[in-house]
Amino acid sequence: MNRTEPGARNARELLKAERRNRWYLFGSGLPALLLVLLTFVLPIGWLFWLSLFDANGQLTVENYTRLLEPIYVLTFVQTFKISIIVTVACVLIGYPYAYFMIKGPRWLANLAMGLLLVSLWTSLLVRTYAWLIILQRRGMANDLLMSLGLTDVPLSLVHNLTGTVVGMVHIMLPFMILPLFASMKSIDPIYNQAAAAFGASPSRAFRDVFLPLSLPGLAAGATLVFVITLGFYVTPALLGGGKVQMISMRIESDVSMYANWGAASSLGVVLLVATLLMLFIVKKSAGLGRRSE
Protein backbone atom coordinates (compact mmCIF):
# COMPACT_ATOMS: atom_id res chain seq x y z
CA MET A 1 0.00 0.00 0.00
CA ASN A 2 1.31 3.40 -0.93
CA ARG A 3 1.19 6.26 1.49
CA THR A 4 2.44 8.78 -1.01
CA GLU A 5 0.03 11.50 -2.00
CA PRO A 6 -0.64 11.65 -5.73
CA GLY A 7 1.00 15.04 -5.94
CA ALA A 8 4.25 13.82 -4.37
CA ARG A 9 7.45 14.54 -6.19
CA ASN A 10 8.14 12.37 -9.26
CA ALA A 11 5.76 9.75 -7.88
CA ARG A 12 3.97 9.02 -11.14
CA GLU A 13 7.14 8.69 -13.21
CA LEU A 14 8.77 6.55 -10.57
CA LEU A 15 5.82 4.19 -10.56
CA LYS A 16 5.99 3.90 -14.34
CA ALA A 17 9.71 3.25 -14.19
CA GLU A 18 9.17 0.56 -11.56
CA ARG A 19 6.55 -1.16 -13.70
CA ARG A 20 8.80 -1.02 -16.75
CA ASN A 21 11.63 -2.56 -14.78
CA ARG A 22 9.44 -5.36 -13.58
CA TRP A 23 8.45 -6.15 -17.16
CA TYR A 24 12.09 -6.36 -18.19
CA LEU A 25 12.78 -8.91 -15.49
CA PHE A 26 9.67 -10.86 -16.29
CA GLY A 27 10.55 -10.62 -19.96
CA SER A 28 13.51 -12.87 -19.42
CA GLY A 29 11.07 -15.70 -18.94
CA LEU A 30 8.82 -14.76 -21.85
CA PRO A 31 10.45 -16.82 -24.61
CA ALA A 32 10.11 -19.94 -22.48
CA LEU A 33 6.53 -19.00 -21.64
CA LEU A 34 5.76 -18.52 -25.32
CA LEU A 35 7.17 -21.93 -26.17
CA VAL A 36 5.16 -23.60 -23.44
CA LEU A 37 2.00 -21.84 -24.56
CA LEU A 38 2.44 -22.87 -28.18
CA THR A 39 3.62 -26.45 -27.70
CA PHE A 40 1.76 -27.35 -24.57
CA VAL A 41 -1.21 -25.19 -23.61
CA LEU A 42 -2.45 -24.79 -27.14
CA PRO A 43 -2.38 -28.48 -28.15
CA ILE A 44 -3.87 -29.63 -24.87
CA GLY A 45 -6.57 -27.02 -25.00
CA TRP A 46 -7.35 -28.09 -28.52
CA LEU A 47 -7.59 -31.73 -27.41
CA PHE A 48 -10.07 -30.81 -24.69
CA TRP A 49 -12.05 -29.04 -27.37
CA LEU A 50 -11.89 -32.00 -29.75
CA SER A 51 -13.18 -34.39 -27.12
CA LEU A 52 -16.47 -32.56 -27.15
CA PHE A 53 -17.21 -33.15 -30.84
CA ASP A 54 -18.14 -36.29 -32.73
CA ALA A 55 -17.08 -37.37 -36.24
CA ASN A 56 -19.64 -35.08 -37.83
CA GLY A 57 -18.60 -32.01 -35.95
CA GLN A 58 -21.55 -32.01 -33.59
CA LEU A 59 -21.21 -31.04 -29.95
CA THR A 60 -21.61 -34.18 -27.88
CA VAL A 61 -20.65 -36.08 -24.76
CA GLU A 62 -20.63 -39.43 -26.50
CA ASN A 63 -16.84 -39.51 -26.51
CA TYR A 64 -17.00 -39.67 -22.75
CA THR A 65 -20.01 -41.90 -22.41
CA ARG A 66 -18.34 -44.36 -24.76
CA LEU A 67 -15.64 -44.76 -22.19
CA LEU A 68 -18.10 -46.56 -19.95
CA GLU A 69 -18.33 -49.44 -22.41
CA PRO A 70 -16.80 -52.75 -21.32
CA ILE A 71 -13.84 -52.56 -23.72
CA TYR A 72 -12.75 -49.30 -22.25
CA VAL A 73 -13.50 -50.33 -18.70
CA LEU A 74 -11.28 -53.34 -19.26
CA THR A 75 -8.49 -51.08 -20.44
CA PHE A 76 -8.88 -48.86 -17.37
CA VAL A 77 -8.86 -51.83 -15.05
CA GLN A 78 -5.80 -53.34 -16.68
CA THR A 79 -3.96 -50.03 -16.61
CA PHE A 80 -4.68 -49.51 -12.94
CA LYS A 81 -3.81 -53.11 -12.18
CA ILE A 82 -0.44 -52.78 -13.84
CA SER A 83 0.25 -49.49 -12.14
CA ILE A 84 -0.55 -50.92 -8.75
CA ILE A 85 1.59 -54.02 -9.28
CA VAL A 86 4.50 -51.96 -10.52
CA THR A 87 4.19 -49.52 -7.63
CA VAL A 88 4.07 -52.26 -5.01
CA ALA A 89 7.05 -54.02 -6.59
CA CYS A 90 9.01 -50.77 -6.67
CA VAL A 91 8.23 -50.13 -3.02
CA LEU A 92 9.34 -53.61 -1.97
CA ILE A 93 12.52 -53.53 -4.04
CA GLY A 94 13.25 -49.83 -3.80
CA TYR A 95 12.96 -49.27 -0.07
CA PRO A 96 15.73 -51.69 0.94
CA TYR A 97 17.88 -50.33 -1.89
CA ALA A 98 17.49 -46.74 -0.74
CA TYR A 99 18.08 -47.82 2.85
CA PHE A 100 21.26 -49.54 1.77
CA MET A 101 22.41 -46.42 -0.04
CA ILE A 102 22.21 -44.63 3.29
CA LYS A 103 23.48 -47.22 5.71
CA GLY A 104 25.69 -49.50 3.68
CA PRO A 105 29.51 -49.32 3.44
CA ARG A 106 30.55 -46.20 1.58
CA TRP A 107 32.04 -47.74 -1.55
CA LEU A 108 29.19 -50.17 -2.03
CA ALA A 109 26.59 -47.48 -1.44
CA ASN A 110 28.28 -45.29 -4.03
CA LEU A 111 28.30 -48.20 -6.46
CA ALA A 112 24.61 -48.70 -5.82
CA MET A 113 23.94 -45.05 -6.64
CA GLY A 114 26.21 -45.22 -9.66
CA LEU A 115 24.46 -48.22 -11.14
CA LEU A 116 21.12 -46.57 -10.50
CA LEU A 117 22.23 -43.52 -12.43
CA VAL A 118 23.65 -45.60 -15.27
CA SER A 119 20.28 -47.29 -15.53
CA LEU A 120 18.45 -43.99 -15.44
CA TRP A 121 20.61 -42.39 -18.09
CA THR A 122 20.56 -45.32 -20.48
CA SER A 123 18.02 -44.71 -23.19
CA LEU A 124 14.53 -45.93 -22.41
CA LEU A 125 14.25 -47.63 -25.76
CA VAL A 126 17.60 -49.32 -25.32
CA ARG A 127 16.59 -50.73 -21.96
CA THR A 128 13.21 -51.86 -23.24
CA TYR A 129 14.89 -53.50 -26.21
CA ALA A 130 17.31 -55.21 -23.86
CA TRP A 131 14.44 -56.66 -21.83
CA LEU A 132 12.91 -57.91 -25.05
CA ILE A 133 16.13 -59.81 -25.65
CA ILE A 134 16.47 -61.10 -22.12
CA LEU A 135 12.90 -62.23 -21.70
CA GLN A 136 12.31 -63.86 -25.06
CA ARG A 137 11.79 -67.61 -25.35
CA ARG A 138 15.42 -68.35 -26.12
CA GLY A 139 16.75 -65.50 -24.04
CA MET A 140 18.87 -65.31 -20.92
CA ALA A 141 16.05 -65.37 -18.44
CA ASN A 142 14.61 -68.61 -19.69
CA ASP A 143 18.11 -70.09 -20.02
CA LEU A 144 18.74 -69.30 -16.39
CA LEU A 145 15.40 -70.63 -15.19
CA MET A 146 15.85 -73.87 -17.08
CA SER A 147 19.42 -74.37 -15.96
CA LEU A 148 18.29 -73.83 -12.36
CA GLY A 149 15.70 -76.50 -12.93
CA LEU A 150 12.78 -74.21 -12.12
CA THR A 151 11.06 -75.08 -15.36
CA ASP A 152 11.33 -77.57 -18.20
CA VAL A 153 9.94 -75.50 -21.01
CA PRO A 154 10.74 -71.88 -21.79
CA LEU A 155 8.18 -69.60 -20.19
CA SER A 156 6.38 -66.89 -22.00
CA LEU A 157 7.89 -63.91 -20.29
CA VAL A 158 7.38 -61.22 -22.84
CA HIS A 159 4.56 -59.86 -24.97
CA ASN A 160 2.33 -60.21 -21.95
CA LEU A 161 1.66 -58.83 -18.52
CA THR A 162 4.80 -60.34 -17.00
CA GLY A 163 7.09 -58.72 -19.51
CA THR A 164 5.34 -55.40 -19.12
CA VAL A 165 5.62 -55.46 -15.36
CA VAL A 166 9.28 -56.46 -15.37
CA GLY A 167 10.16 -53.75 -17.86
CA MET A 168 8.13 -51.07 -16.07
CA VAL A 169 9.57 -51.93 -12.67
CA HIS A 170 13.04 -51.56 -14.14
CA ILE A 171 12.25 -48.19 -15.66
CA MET A 172 10.41 -46.91 -12.60
CA LEU A 173 12.82 -48.01 -9.88
CA PRO A 174 15.00 -44.87 -10.08
CA PHE A 175 11.87 -42.73 -9.70
CA MET A 176 11.05 -44.58 -6.52
CA ILE A 177 14.54 -44.79 -5.10
CA LEU A 178 15.75 -41.25 -5.68
CA PRO A 179 12.99 -39.38 -3.78
CA LEU A 180 13.12 -42.03 -1.09
CA PHE A 181 16.87 -41.66 -0.81
CA ALA A 182 16.60 -37.88 -0.55
CA SER A 183 13.97 -38.20 2.15
CA MET A 184 15.94 -40.78 4.11
CA LYS A 185 19.07 -38.70 3.88
CA SER A 186 17.34 -35.87 5.68
CA ILE A 187 16.44 -38.04 8.66
CA ASP A 188 18.76 -37.00 11.42
CA PRO A 189 20.65 -40.06 12.71
CA ILE A 190 20.22 -38.61 16.16
CA TYR A 191 16.72 -40.03 16.29
CA ASN A 192 17.92 -43.59 15.91
CA GLN A 193 20.67 -42.94 18.42
CA ALA A 194 18.13 -41.63 20.91
CA ALA A 195 15.98 -44.70 20.40
CA ALA A 196 18.99 -46.93 21.01
CA ALA A 197 19.81 -44.95 24.15
CA PHE A 198 16.32 -45.71 25.36
CA GLY A 199 16.94 -49.39 24.95
CA ALA A 200 15.34 -50.11 21.62
CA SER A 201 16.90 -52.85 19.53
CA PRO A 202 17.97 -51.84 16.02
CA SER A 203 14.90 -53.43 14.47
CA ARG A 204 12.63 -51.75 17.01
CA ALA A 205 14.33 -48.42 16.37
CA PHE A 206 13.84 -48.92 12.67
CA ARG A 207 10.19 -49.79 13.01
CA ASP A 208 9.31 -47.03 15.45
CA VAL A 209 11.59 -44.22 14.37
CA PHE A 210 13.14 -44.54 10.94
CA LEU A 211 10.24 -46.08 9.05
CA PRO A 212 7.63 -43.46 10.00
CA LEU A 213 10.07 -40.64 9.24
CA SER A 214 10.77 -42.09 5.81
CA LEU A 215 7.10 -42.42 4.90
CA PRO A 216 6.74 -39.01 3.25
CA GLY A 217 9.58 -39.86 0.86
CA LEU A 218 8.04 -43.26 0.26
CA ALA A 219 4.68 -41.72 -0.50
CA ALA A 220 6.28 -39.26 -2.87
CA GLY A 221 8.15 -41.98 -4.73
CA ALA A 222 5.17 -44.31 -4.88
CA THR A 223 2.90 -41.58 -6.18
CA LEU A 224 5.41 -40.64 -8.83
CA VAL A 225 5.76 -44.24 -9.97
CA PHE A 226 2.02 -44.87 -10.01
CA VAL A 227 1.19 -41.74 -11.90
CA ILE A 228 3.91 -42.15 -14.52
CA THR A 229 3.06 -45.80 -15.08
CA LEU A 230 -0.58 -44.91 -15.68
CA GLY A 231 0.30 -42.94 -18.79
CA PHE A 232 3.38 -44.78 -19.97
CA TYR A 233 3.58 -45.87 -23.58
CA VAL A 234 6.89 -47.15 -24.91
CA THR A 235 7.66 -50.03 -22.60
CA PRO A 236 4.16 -51.52 -22.33
CA ALA A 237 3.75 -51.18 -26.12
CA LEU A 238 6.91 -53.16 -26.83
CA LEU A 239 6.87 -55.63 -23.98
CA GLY A 240 3.13 -56.11 -23.76
CA GLY A 241 2.67 -57.03 -27.36
CA GLY A 242 -0.86 -58.07 -28.11
CA LYS A 243 -1.93 -59.24 -24.69
CA VAL A 244 -1.64 -56.01 -22.76
CA GLN A 245 -3.46 -52.86 -23.57
CA MET A 246 -3.02 -49.81 -21.45
CA ILE A 247 -4.77 -46.49 -21.87
CA SER A 248 -1.78 -44.98 -23.65
CA MET A 249 -1.77 -47.76 -26.25
CA ARG A 250 -5.46 -47.32 -26.83
CA ILE A 251 -4.91 -43.60 -27.43
CA GLU A 252 -2.15 -44.35 -29.89
CA SER A 253 -4.19 -46.77 -31.91
CA ASP A 254 -7.18 -44.43 -31.89
CA VAL A 255 -5.04 -41.81 -33.54
CA SER A 256 -2.75 -43.70 -35.87
CA MET A 257 -5.10 -46.49 -36.91
CA TYR A 258 -8.58 -45.03 -36.70
CA ALA A 259 -7.94 -41.29 -36.76
CA ASN A 260 -10.66 -41.11 -34.15
CA TRP A 261 -9.73 -37.84 -32.53
CA GLY A 262 -12.84 -37.71 -30.43
CA ALA A 263 -12.07 -41.04 -28.82
CA ALA A 264 -8.36 -40.39 -28.43
CA SER A 265 -8.77 -36.96 -26.94
CA SER A 266 -11.46 -37.95 -24.48
CA LEU A 267 -9.38 -40.88 -23.33
CA GLY A 268 -6.40 -38.58 -22.93
CA VAL A 269 -8.44 -36.12 -20.93
CA VAL A 270 -9.60 -38.87 -18.61
CA LEU A 271 -6.00 -40.04 -18.20
CA LEU A 272 -4.87 -36.51 -17.38
CA VAL A 273 -7.69 -35.97 -14.91
CA ALA A 274 -6.95 -39.29 -13.21
CA THR A 275 -3.28 -38.30 -12.94
CA LEU A 276 -4.02 -34.89 -11.46
CA LEU A 277 -6.60 -36.32 -9.11
CA MET A 278 -4.14 -38.86 -7.74
CA LEU A 279 -1.49 -36.20 -7.20
CA PHE A 280 -4.01 -33.96 -5.51
CA ILE A 281 -5.26 -36.71 -3.19
CA VAL A 282 -1.78 -37.72 -2.15
CA LYS A 283 -0.74 -34.11 -1.58
CA LYS A 284 -3.79 -33.48 0.59
CA SER A 285 -3.41 -36.61 2.68
CA ALA A 286 0.27 -35.90 3.13
CA GLY A 287 -0.70 -32.51 4.51
CA LEU A 288 -3.27 -34.04 6.79
CA GLY A 289 -0.86 -36.67 8.02
CA ARG A 290 1.64 -34.01 8.94
CA ARG A 291 -0.93 -31.98 10.80
CA SER A 292 -1.89 -34.95 12.96
CA GLU A 293 1.69 -35.34 14.21
Binding site: L25, F26, L35, V118, S201, L272
Partner: protein, 271 residues
Amino acid sequence: MSRFRQTLTEVVRASWLYVLVLMTMLFLVLPTLIVIPMSLSDARYLSFPPKSFSIEPFFSYFASLEWRTATKVSLITATLTMLLATTLGTAAAYSLHVTQSRFSGVLRGLMMAPMIVPTIFIAIGLFFVYARFDLNNTIPGLVLAHTLLALPYVVINVSAGLRSYDMTQEQAACILGASRLRAFFDVTLPQIRFSVIAAAMFAFAISLDEAVISLFISGGDSSTLTKRMFSSLRSEIDPLIAVVATLMTLLSIIMLCISIMAQRKAKRNAV
Protein backbone atom coordinates in the same frame (compact mmCIF):
# COMPACT_ATOMS: atom_id res chain seq x y z
CA MET B 1 16.47 -62.35 23.59
CA SER B 2 19.99 -63.44 24.24
CA ARG B 3 22.91 -61.44 22.90
CA PHE B 4 23.88 -64.20 20.52
CA ARG B 5 20.42 -64.57 19.08
CA GLN B 6 20.16 -60.84 18.66
CA THR B 7 23.46 -60.63 16.76
CA LEU B 8 22.52 -63.63 14.65
CA THR B 9 19.20 -62.05 13.75
CA GLU B 10 20.98 -58.85 12.79
CA VAL B 11 23.53 -60.72 10.65
CA VAL B 12 20.78 -62.69 8.93
CA ARG B 13 18.82 -59.55 8.39
CA ALA B 14 21.89 -57.76 7.10
CA SER B 15 22.85 -60.52 4.71
CA TRP B 16 19.27 -60.66 3.44
CA LEU B 17 19.56 -56.94 2.72
CA TYR B 18 22.90 -57.39 0.97
CA VAL B 19 21.56 -60.18 -1.19
CA LEU B 20 18.49 -58.20 -2.16
CA VAL B 21 20.51 -55.11 -2.94
CA LEU B 22 23.07 -57.00 -5.00
CA MET B 23 20.31 -58.66 -6.98
CA THR B 24 18.68 -55.29 -7.54
CA MET B 25 21.95 -53.80 -8.70
CA LEU B 26 22.29 -56.59 -11.22
CA PHE B 27 18.69 -56.09 -12.27
CA LEU B 28 19.31 -52.40 -12.80
CA VAL B 29 22.47 -52.69 -14.83
CA LEU B 30 21.86 -55.89 -16.80
CA PRO B 31 20.02 -54.31 -19.74
CA THR B 32 22.72 -51.70 -20.20
CA LEU B 33 25.42 -54.33 -20.12
CA ILE B 34 24.02 -56.88 -22.52
CA VAL B 35 23.53 -54.37 -25.28
CA ILE B 36 27.23 -54.25 -26.07
CA PRO B 37 27.92 -57.99 -26.52
CA MET B 38 24.66 -58.18 -28.42
CA SER B 39 25.95 -55.80 -31.05
CA LEU B 40 29.00 -57.95 -31.57
CA SER B 41 27.03 -61.03 -32.36
CA ASP B 42 25.19 -62.06 -35.46
CA ALA B 43 22.62 -64.13 -33.62
CA ARG B 44 19.16 -62.98 -32.77
CA TYR B 45 19.26 -64.40 -29.32
CA LEU B 46 21.73 -63.59 -26.66
CA SER B 47 22.99 -66.44 -24.62
CA PHE B 48 26.00 -66.99 -22.45
CA PRO B 49 28.52 -67.61 -23.77
CA PRO B 50 27.61 -65.67 -26.93
CA LYS B 51 27.22 -68.05 -29.82
CA SER B 52 28.88 -66.12 -32.56
CA PHE B 53 31.11 -63.14 -32.84
CA SER B 54 30.78 -60.78 -35.72
CA ILE B 55 31.07 -57.09 -36.41
CA GLU B 56 28.86 -57.43 -39.43
CA PRO B 57 25.99 -55.53 -37.78
CA PHE B 58 28.27 -52.48 -37.44
CA PHE B 59 28.96 -52.52 -41.18
CA SER B 60 25.27 -52.90 -41.93
CA TYR B 61 24.55 -49.91 -39.77
CA PHE B 62 27.09 -47.65 -41.39
CA ALA B 63 26.01 -48.84 -44.83
CA SER B 64 22.34 -48.24 -44.26
CA LEU B 65 21.21 -44.85 -45.52
CA GLU B 66 18.06 -45.00 -43.45
CA TRP B 67 19.87 -45.51 -40.17
CA ARG B 68 22.55 -42.94 -40.96
CA THR B 69 19.90 -40.36 -41.78
CA ALA B 70 18.02 -41.17 -38.61
CA THR B 71 21.23 -40.80 -36.60
CA LYS B 72 21.92 -37.46 -38.19
CA VAL B 73 18.38 -36.29 -37.47
CA SER B 74 18.57 -37.36 -33.84
CA LEU B 75 21.97 -35.80 -33.23
CA ILE B 76 21.04 -32.52 -34.91
CA THR B 77 17.75 -32.38 -33.03
CA ALA B 78 19.43 -33.16 -29.73
CA THR B 79 22.07 -30.49 -30.25
CA LEU B 80 19.54 -27.85 -31.23
CA THR B 81 17.31 -28.86 -28.34
CA MET B 82 20.25 -28.58 -25.98
CA LEU B 83 20.99 -25.06 -27.19
CA LEU B 84 17.40 -23.87 -27.22
CA ALA B 85 16.32 -25.44 -23.95
CA THR B 86 19.42 -24.30 -22.08
CA THR B 87 19.07 -20.73 -23.32
CA LEU B 88 15.33 -20.43 -22.73
CA GLY B 89 15.48 -22.35 -19.49
CA THR B 90 18.36 -20.36 -18.03
CA ALA B 91 16.66 -17.09 -18.92
CA ALA B 92 13.44 -18.37 -17.36
CA ALA B 93 15.19 -19.62 -14.23
CA TYR B 94 16.82 -16.20 -13.85
CA SER B 95 13.49 -14.46 -14.24
CA LEU B 96 11.87 -16.73 -11.67
CA HIS B 97 14.75 -16.17 -9.28
CA VAL B 98 14.68 -12.37 -9.31
CA THR B 99 10.93 -11.80 -9.41
CA GLN B 100 8.81 -13.16 -6.61
CA SER B 101 5.41 -12.21 -7.92
CA ARG B 102 2.21 -14.05 -8.62
CA PHE B 103 3.13 -14.12 -12.30
CA SER B 104 6.35 -15.93 -11.68
CA GLY B 105 4.43 -18.54 -9.69
CA VAL B 106 2.18 -19.12 -12.68
CA LEU B 107 5.16 -19.28 -15.03
CA ARG B 108 6.93 -21.79 -12.83
CA GLY B 109 3.81 -23.96 -12.63
CA LEU B 110 3.36 -23.86 -16.39
CA MET B 111 6.92 -24.84 -17.05
CA MET B 112 6.85 -27.76 -14.63
CA ALA B 113 3.54 -29.00 -16.02
CA PRO B 114 5.00 -31.13 -18.86
CA MET B 115 6.53 -33.34 -16.21
CA ILE B 116 3.15 -34.24 -14.76
CA VAL B 117 1.07 -34.50 -17.92
CA PRO B 118 1.25 -37.93 -19.63
CA THR B 119 3.56 -37.65 -22.61
CA ILE B 120 1.18 -39.55 -24.90
CA PHE B 121 -1.36 -36.79 -24.36
CA ILE B 122 1.15 -34.10 -25.28
CA ALA B 123 2.23 -36.22 -28.25
CA ILE B 124 -1.16 -36.52 -29.89
CA GLY B 125 -1.91 -32.89 -29.19
CA LEU B 126 1.28 -31.78 -30.87
CA PHE B 127 0.65 -34.14 -33.77
CA PHE B 128 -2.73 -32.55 -34.27
CA VAL B 129 -1.51 -28.94 -34.01
CA TYR B 130 1.57 -29.58 -36.12
CA ALA B 131 -0.61 -31.04 -38.86
CA ARG B 132 -2.34 -27.68 -39.07
CA PHE B 133 0.95 -25.82 -39.42
CA ASP B 134 2.86 -28.33 -41.53
CA LEU B 135 5.34 -28.97 -38.75
CA ASN B 136 5.09 -32.72 -38.73
CA ASN B 137 8.13 -34.57 -40.03
CA THR B 138 10.33 -31.51 -39.62
CA ILE B 139 13.36 -30.98 -37.46
CA PRO B 140 12.18 -27.59 -36.12
CA GLY B 141 8.97 -29.27 -34.99
CA LEU B 142 10.98 -31.91 -33.17
CA VAL B 143 13.26 -29.34 -31.57
CA LEU B 144 10.32 -27.34 -30.21
CA ALA B 145 8.67 -30.44 -28.79
CA HIS B 146 11.85 -31.78 -27.20
CA THR B 147 12.63 -28.36 -25.76
CA LEU B 148 9.24 -28.42 -24.05
CA LEU B 149 10.14 -31.67 -22.35
CA ALA B 150 13.64 -30.57 -21.43
CA LEU B 151 12.69 -27.13 -20.06
CA PRO B 152 11.57 -28.29 -16.59
CA TYR B 153 14.87 -30.05 -16.00
CA VAL B 154 16.90 -27.08 -17.16
CA VAL B 155 14.90 -24.73 -14.94
CA ILE B 156 15.31 -27.00 -11.92
CA ASN B 157 19.06 -27.33 -12.39
CA VAL B 158 19.78 -23.68 -13.08
CA SER B 159 17.45 -22.54 -10.28
CA ALA B 160 19.41 -24.69 -7.86
CA GLY B 161 22.61 -23.07 -9.09
CA LEU B 162 21.17 -19.59 -8.70
CA ARG B 163 19.99 -20.33 -5.17
CA SER B 164 23.49 -21.07 -3.96
CA TYR B 165 24.86 -17.98 -5.69
CA ASP B 166 25.30 -14.61 -4.01
CA MET B 167 23.24 -12.13 -6.00
CA THR B 168 25.05 -9.19 -4.39
CA GLN B 169 27.84 -9.78 -6.87
CA GLU B 170 25.53 -8.84 -9.68
CA GLN B 171 24.63 -5.69 -7.78
CA ALA B 172 28.32 -4.94 -7.36
CA ALA B 173 28.89 -5.38 -11.09
CA CYS B 174 26.00 -3.03 -11.82
CA ILE B 175 27.17 -0.22 -9.59
CA LEU B 176 30.63 -0.57 -11.12
CA GLY B 177 29.05 0.27 -14.45
CA ALA B 178 27.71 -2.94 -16.00
CA SER B 179 24.18 -3.08 -17.32
CA ARG B 180 22.08 -5.90 -15.92
CA LEU B 181 22.61 -8.04 -19.01
CA ARG B 182 26.35 -7.41 -18.98
CA ALA B 183 26.52 -8.19 -15.28
CA PHE B 184 24.73 -11.48 -15.88
CA PHE B 185 27.21 -12.57 -18.55
CA ASP B 186 30.32 -11.24 -16.80
CA VAL B 187 29.62 -12.32 -13.27
CA THR B 188 26.58 -14.55 -12.75
CA LEU B 189 26.84 -16.94 -15.68
CA PRO B 190 30.50 -17.87 -15.07
CA GLN B 191 29.58 -18.83 -11.56
CA ILE B 192 26.54 -20.93 -12.35
CA ARG B 193 28.18 -22.47 -15.38
CA PHE B 194 28.30 -25.95 -13.88
CA SER B 195 24.59 -25.99 -13.26
CA VAL B 196 24.08 -24.78 -16.81
CA ILE B 197 26.36 -27.49 -18.19
CA ALA B 198 24.58 -30.18 -16.21
CA ALA B 199 21.27 -28.83 -17.49
CA ALA B 200 22.55 -28.87 -21.08
CA MET B 201 23.53 -32.52 -20.72
CA PHE B 202 20.06 -33.33 -19.42
CA ALA B 203 18.48 -31.54 -22.38
CA PHE B 204 20.64 -33.39 -24.89
CA ALA B 205 19.94 -36.77 -23.31
CA ILE B 206 16.21 -36.13 -23.05
CA SER B 207 16.02 -35.20 -26.71
CA LEU B 208 18.10 -38.12 -27.92
CA ASP B 209 16.09 -40.58 -25.94
CA GLU B 210 12.66 -39.14 -26.61
CA ALA B 211 10.45 -41.84 -28.12
CA VAL B 212 6.75 -41.09 -27.68
CA ILE B 213 6.40 -37.66 -29.26
CA SER B 214 8.92 -38.50 -31.96
CA LEU B 215 6.78 -41.48 -32.87
CA PHE B 216 4.00 -39.17 -33.91
CA ILE B 217 5.63 -36.05 -35.22
CA SER B 218 8.71 -37.39 -36.97
CA GLY B 219 8.63 -39.50 -40.08
CA GLY B 220 10.13 -40.14 -43.48
CA ASP B 221 13.47 -38.43 -43.84
CA SER B 222 13.05 -36.74 -40.51
CA SER B 223 12.53 -39.90 -38.56
CA THR B 224 14.49 -39.95 -35.40
CA LEU B 225 16.64 -42.82 -34.30
CA THR B 226 14.09 -43.68 -31.64
CA LYS B 227 11.27 -43.84 -34.15
CA ARG B 228 13.20 -46.17 -36.41
CA MET B 229 14.13 -48.34 -33.49
CA PHE B 230 10.59 -48.52 -32.28
CA SER B 231 9.15 -49.42 -35.68
CA SER B 232 11.91 -51.94 -36.15
CA LEU B 233 11.32 -53.57 -32.77
CA ARG B 234 7.67 -53.88 -33.47
CA SER B 235 8.32 -56.11 -36.45
CA GLU B 236 11.31 -58.22 -35.60
CA ILE B 237 14.56 -58.21 -33.74
CA ASP B 238 17.23 -57.00 -36.11
CA PRO B 239 20.84 -57.30 -34.91
CA LEU B 240 21.41 -53.86 -36.35
CA ILE B 241 19.30 -52.44 -33.55
CA ALA B 242 21.89 -53.66 -31.10
CA VAL B 243 24.50 -51.47 -32.77
CA VAL B 244 22.29 -48.44 -32.48
CA ALA B 245 21.57 -49.34 -28.90
CA THR B 246 25.26 -49.69 -28.12
CA LEU B 247 26.14 -46.34 -29.63
CA MET B 248 23.31 -44.66 -27.79
CA THR B 249 24.34 -46.27 -24.54
CA LEU B 250 27.94 -45.18 -24.88
CA LEU B 251 26.81 -41.66 -25.60
CA SER B 252 24.51 -41.74 -22.56
CA ILE B 253 27.29 -42.82 -20.26
CA ILE B 254 29.56 -40.04 -21.50
CA MET B 255 26.79 -37.49 -20.90
CA LEU B 256 26.16 -38.91 -17.46
CA CYS B 257 29.79 -38.59 -16.49
CA ILE B 258 30.01 -35.00 -17.70
CA SER B 259 26.82 -34.16 -15.85
CA ILE B 260 28.02 -35.72 -12.59
CA MET B 261 31.36 -33.91 -12.81
CA ALA B 262 29.60 -30.64 -13.49
CA GLN B 263 27.19 -31.09 -10.60
CA ARG B 264 29.98 -31.99 -8.25
CA LYS B 265 31.96 -28.93 -9.29
CA ALA B 266 28.84 -26.81 -8.82
CA LYS B 267 28.45 -28.04 -5.26
CA ARG B 268 32.09 -27.37 -4.47
CA ASN B 269 31.89 -23.83 -5.81
CA ALA B 270 28.74 -23.04 -3.90
CA VAL B 271 30.49 -23.01 -0.53
